[in-house]
């Protein structure tokens, strides 16, 4: 609550007139209710009792006085948080830190600028506005009128880079000439700071103090947190959320979005009181990690809270094919060195070559592999032509293979054997690396002088070999040769990936070389252009409020090297380069300073939290409301409005309920609610049957499953709950392991939704028992109405191939050893899915038969059978129950008992 002031306080003098109003109101009673009345002869007899005019009731009087008082106060123009009127006559100088750090609370700065402009307008003083963030084309520094200052305040926006107070100090000197004519007057200086320290703070403050009284405005609640990149962790890019003061706890969220704006992840971050940093790692699957476009502190508008993700940090998926021989020691394995040097930038995949080619690897490394199958060669060359990078390392195997003929997929022809330096019988000393040729992707790397090549494999000399050399030894022997092959490239390192032949794998340049090679791949993560000298045009640039916008025509293109420099007017933060592999220039880098501004000799103040607020409209609204109440009261008093109890209650309710009229709008949860039926089944296993719509059939199904559940409870460790009828279209089938589906004649094919649900049910391990119950009538396929209905259902399902159940099927072995799966009838065969794949433990997703299992299993609540058996009497019913137990056991345990099939053979062997 700020100070209350009035724009025209003289009007308040009218409050003196209130007593007069009081007298007037007292004298004027409310007008009486008018009524026609014929019985005047009687009324006239009452005239003696007629009263003198009523006095206005005192509550009404008070109400009206209040109304008048409110109107008078409203007319006086009350203003909350009104700016204090300026003192002194010197020019007003606004020093605005319009840096990235000012974006968070920019409105406060703008309000302050407007306020100061208004203040200057009142006292008719010139305004200097000096912005400290460097500009490409700075506006001329001139004294502004209050109007101009206000216009500038409205248009000024923060710049997405740091402020330059040293530069501002020079500009300050340029303003002195305008202040010369009123030299005796001190400036009224407001420094709207961003609250962050830079190199020349105290000098700048001193320069200001020379010219006048300085008020340093800082954000009242410290500075909003920033997001600083850390060295990428193995799990993903890591960031640190930093803030200046740990005065209170901070709660926020870290959000990562893809280049197309999709949100990829969101992490809630809390910082305790006193904690100023919090590290966050964007743990994402590799595919998603490579799509990362930007991460930000959610809800922050500061460019400092955004980190744009450079394409260069993307990690490639590298397929690694090594020697087949087992290596006991890590240090003798080339893969170890490759992993070590590429670990921050890539994920590795070790598999058969065929599988790697089929995967979405962008780079394949063959570590000393010579022999490949013809099919693999074709696949690999096709993959390289498509844009893959094949990196091969030499080694004993390759050297051996090259003796006879040049192995396929090599950039150059090899000479057999190899070359060893510095051995006991060689003249040559180990060689160093020569400078990298300009045409190679390694150009720009500094060849280390402590790397010696002791042994290598040699290429056939020739013009081709020379042009294909990307790295040479000092004597000119090619060390790395490469050949463009389609869109991709085949690279051969003429040394091993282990330090046996050379020091290269343990040098830093090795990782750098591999990294550049990875970027050559046009597969998988988009490669950054390796040419360091190329200027990258701006793609999307950050504005002062951390929004990405299209670059202007004048925004310069930058070289990748320049991108590492801090942001500035000529290096605007944002994305540069190709859209698919943009390079990022961020406001906050690992080096960016982030410390509170500390200067002495200035008056500190906080930004006015709340802008001036005119209370007049609220007062007039209140007066209007009072007027309405007064009108209602007058009507009631005059008897013209009779409010019954209901009317009064309605008015009170209306007033009380008005604030409740707009209910909260909340986001709906994405997942639908789990209904009670499904929830109950998650707690207790229940057998389920599909409701056919025929009440008799549904009752029979329920009795059958109840009977079967009872037997299961009695005989097995499974203790199912009461059975439940389901509708495949509406119910969640995922909680039921077993579904009994009696097919009735004329059943319509299920809807699309139901079919999708059923297919899902089958795909994820559910077992459906289709029962057409027509065993005694069935002669051929589709011969009965039930079978026709079943065909209608199955024709739309993705049904696996079927076979008839024989005595060796796991269904006959899962609990009881049976020969068949009898139901009430047992004539025609029972069909199950042929075991073509091992999915879902080889559980058949469906059992199809017409044996009326329900009829055999059904029993009433006392356990008495409901239907007679076909043949064999109660003994046959016992077998039907056993078949049911077996079926349910298969649904629950899968092929657990399938080895029972082999029992006779095992027993036979044991017998021997």
């Amino acid at each position: 609550m700020g100070a209350l002031s009035f724009t025209s306080p003289l009007i308040l003098a009218a409050l003196i007139a209130l007593p007069l109003v009081w007298f007037l109101l007292r004298a004027t009673p409310p007008s009486p209710k008018q009524a026609r009345f014929p019985a005047f002869i009687i009324l006239r007899q009452l005239t003696a009792k007629e009263e003198t005019p009523d006095r206005t009731p005192w509550p009404l009087l008070l109400l009206r006085l209040l109304l008048v008082a409110i109107v008078i106060t409203g007319l006086a123009g009350p203003v909350l948080n009104a700016p204090p009127t300026a003192s002194g006559g010197g020019p007003v100088a606004l020093i605005v830190d319009d840096s990235w750090a000012a974006a968070t609370n920019w409105n406060a700065r703008r309000d302050e600028m407007r306020r100061v402009s208004a203040e200057a307008a009142q006292s008719d003083r010139p305004v200097f506005i000096l912005t400290t963030a460097p500009k490409r084309m700075p506006a001329p520094l001139e004294p502004l009128t209050a109007q101009e200052a206000r216009a500038m305040a409205d248009t000024l926006t923060p710049q997405p880079w740091a402020s330059d107070r040293a530069g501002a100090m020079e500009a300050l000197a340029a303003l002195d000439q305008y202040a010369a004519n009123n030299e005796n007057q001190r400036w009224d200086i407001r420094w709207l700071s961003d609250g962050l320290a830079s190199g020349d703070d105290q000098a700048f403050a001193d320069a200001l103090r020379q010219r006048g009284d300085v008020v340093l405005l800082t954000d009242p609640d410290g500075h909003a947190p920033i997001l600083r990149p850390l060295a990428p962790a193995n799990a993903g890019p890591a960031f640190r959320i930093e803030r200046l003061s740990g005065n209170d706890a901070w709660e926020g969220a870290f959000a990562a979005s893809a280049r197309d704006g999709r949100e990829l992840m969101r992490i809630d971050v809390t910082m305790e009181e006193g904690q100023t940093t919090s590290d966050v790692t964007a743990q994402l699957p590799l595919a998603l990690r490579n799509e990362l476009g930007a991460v930000r502190i959610e809800g922050s508008v500061s460019p400092g809270a955004v980190q744009l993700i450079d394409a260069r940090t993307r990690r490639a998926l590298i397929g690694l094919v090594g020697e087949a021989r087992p290596v006991r020691n890590n240090l003798l394995d080339g893969a170890h060195y490759l992993r070590k040097s590429l670990n921050p930038y890539a994920e590795f995949l070790t598999d058969r070559l065929g599988a790697i080619v089929a995967s979405d690897a962008s780079v394949i490394i063959l570590d000393d592999v010579a022999a490949m199958r013809a099919g693999d060669i074709d696949a690999l060359s096709a993959w390289v032509k498509k844009g893959g990078v094949l990196i091969r390392f030499a080694g004993p195997v390759l050297a051996e293979a090259a003796q006879d003929r040049t192995p396929p997929l090599l950039p150059v022809k090899l000479r057999g054997g190899g070359r060893a330096f510095g051995g006991a019988l060689t003249w040559e000393t180990p060689q160093r690396l020569d400078a990298f040729p300009a045409n190679s992707p390694f150009a720009g790397l500094t060849p280390p002088d402590d790397v010696f090549i002791r042994q290598q494999i040699l290429a056939q000399p020739g013009g081709e070999t020379t042009t294909r050399s990307w790295a040479r030894l000092e004597d000119g022997t090619p060390l790395v040769t490469a050949e463009r092959f389609g869109a991709g490239v085949i690279v051969l390192f003429h040394v091993t990936a282990t330090p046996q032949w050379s020091d290269l794998p343990v040098s830093g340049v090795f990782g750098e070389m591999l990294r550049r090679l990875i970027f050559l791949s046009t597969l998988g993560p988009e490669s950054a252009d390796g040419e360091t000298a190329a200027r990258q045009p701006p793609l999307r640039l950050l504005d002062g409020f951390a929004r990405l916008e299209r670059p202007g025509d004048t925004d310069p293109a930058l070289t990748p090297a320049e991108l590492d420099d801090p942001a500035g007017p000529n290096r605007r933060p944002g994305f540069y380069g190709a859209p698919e592999a943009p390079l990022a220039l961020n406001v906050i880098t690992t080096e960016t300073a982030f410390a509170p501004l500390k200067v002495t000799g200035v008056t500190r103040a906080a930004y006015v939290g709340e802008p001036p607020r005119r209370l007049g409209p609220f007062l007039f609204a209140a007066a209007l409301a009072l007027l309405l109440i007064d009108g209602l009261a007058t009507l009631v008093l005059a008897g013209k409005l009779r409010l019954g109890r209901i009317g009064t209650a309605a008015i009170i309710a209306l007033i009380a309920l008005t604030p409740l009229a707009a209910p909260d709008a909340r986001a709906q949860p994405l997942d639908p609610e789990i209904d009670a039926k499904t929830m109950a089944t998650t707690l207790t296993t229940r057998l389920a049957f599909v409701e056919t719509g025929d009440p008799a059939m549904d009752k029979l199904s329920e009795q059958a499953l109840a009977g079967l559940s009872r037997e299961l409870y009695r005989r097995t460790a499974l203790e199912p709950g009461p059975p439940v009828g389901v509708n495949p279209e509406t119910d969640d089938l995922s909680v039921y392991p077993f579904l009994y589906w009696p097919v009735v004649a004329g059943a319509a094919a299920p809807s699309e939704t139901a079919l999708a649900n059923i297919e899902n049910f089958m795909r994820f391990g559910g077992l459906i028992l289709f029962d057409t119950r027509d065993d005694e009538r069935a002669i051929g396929a589709g011969s009965t109405p039930e079978a026709a209905a079943l065909q209608r259902i199955l024709s739309q399902l993705n049904t696996p191939p079927l076979i008839a159940v024989d005595a060796t099927h796991v269904l006959t072995r899962s609990f009881y050893l049976l020969n068949d799966l009898p139901g009430r009838l047992d004539n025609n065969p029972v069909w199950v899915a042929a075991q073509t794949s091992g999915a879902n433990d080889s559980v058949t997703p469906l059992i199809i038969g017409g044996r009326d299992w329900a009829g055999a299993w059904a029993s009433d609540f006392l356990g008495r059978p409901v239907k007679p058996m076909g043949q064999g009497g109660e003994r046959a019913r016992e077998f039907a129950y056993r078949a049911g137990v077996n079926i349910v056991m298969v649904a629950f345990t899968g092929n657990y008992k399938s080895d029972q099939v082999h029992t006779p053979i095992l027993l036979e062997r044991l017998g021997k």
Binding site: A35, F37, F40, L43
Partner: protein, 299 residues
């Protein structure tokens, strides 16, 4: 009230009200019990339709009056058939034409004038069914009789629009033994009414005063500050707290009504009060019994 629709409405309501009653006779005790259609026998021979006696033919009797069948039974004697002398009574209606009747406190209730018209016409219907003659007090015309009488009464009532001057009944030449039915709110000086009643009674008329009141007039359901407008004089009266006055008002109102009843009793007349929120039948029943009351009826 001049539009035909409302006239038809009044007629219809009146028919409805009258439908509950047997034909009304303003007749003597011997037919008081059985309300039958017919004229009132005067227990002597005279013009009429009911056989009274045979008498011997006297010179001068018209030949047409000879009862030939009777004469044929007796030799040399001629008998003349004499009927009982029947004469219809005249009932004179007076409905207050003043503006004060044009009042209804709620929109649901009819105005007093409407109710008065309904009562008047209903009575006219009953009387005409009974064969009585019906006249309007103050109208110079002869009393109507026959089926058309109610219509003509209604017509006459509607012609006589608001006439505030005539708020007390006019005095008129009446046939002896006539009945007078006065329908009004009687919000006038009881003295004036008494004068009229006494004059009429002196002329041999008997009658009924029917006071029609609006519930508001009787209950005085006002609250707060009310300014009352008189319907006739355009006078205004302002009362501060009308709710507190209600008790006084009711006492005065009752006193006024008692005065009316008393003056009616003095003249041997009947006083009936009726509220417009009650069904018209109740008033009509009271009127019926008052007119048909044999004890009050003497030749």
């Amino acid at each position: 009230m001049t539009d035909p629709q409302s006239a038809i409405a009044v007629r219809r309501q009146a028919e409805e009200a009258a439908a509950f009653f047997p034909a009304l006779l303003v007749e003597a005790a011997r037919i008081a019990q059985t309300v039958a259609a017919g004229l009132h026998g005067r227990r002597r021979a005279g013009p009429g339709e009911t056989f009274w006696q045979h008498r011997a033919y006297a010179f001068g009797d018209p030949v047409s009056s000879i009862d030939w069948r009777q004469s044929a039974r007796v030799a040399d004697r001629l008998y003349v058939r004499e009927n009982e002398w029947e004469a219809a009574a005249a009932v004179y209606l007076w409905r207050d034409p003043s503006r004060s009747l044009d009042y209804a406190s709620t929109k649901m209730a009819p105005t007093k004038r409407q109710r008065a018209d309904v009562l008047a016409v209903a009575l006219a219907i009953l009387l005409s069914q009974a064969g009585e003659r019906i006249g309007l007090l103050g109208e110079g015309r002869r009393p109507f009789h026959g089926r058309a009488a109610p219509s003509r009464i209604l017509e006459a009532l509607h012609i006589a629009q608001f006439n505030d001057a005539a708020s007390s009944p006019a005095l008129a030449e009446l046939t002896p033994g006539a009945r007078v039915v006065m329908i009004s709110d009687f919000f006038t000086d009881p003295g004036a009414i008494e004068t009229s009643v006494a004059t009429l009674a002196a002329a041999g008329a008997r009658g009924v005063l029917v006071q029609i009141c609006d519930p508001a007039e009787e209950d005085f359901p006002f609250h707060g500050r009310v300014e009352f407008h008189d319907l006739e004089s355009k006078d205004r009266l302002v009362f501060g707290e009308t709710g507190a006055l209600a008790k006084d008002y009711r006492a005065k109102f009752q006193a006024h009504r008692d005065a009316l009843a008393t003056l009616a009793g003095k003249a041997g007349w009947t006083f009936i009060s009726h509220r417009t929120d009650r069904p018209a039948q109740t008033a009509l029943l009271a009127l019926f019994s008052a007119l048909g009351d044999a004890r009050r009826w003497t030749q």
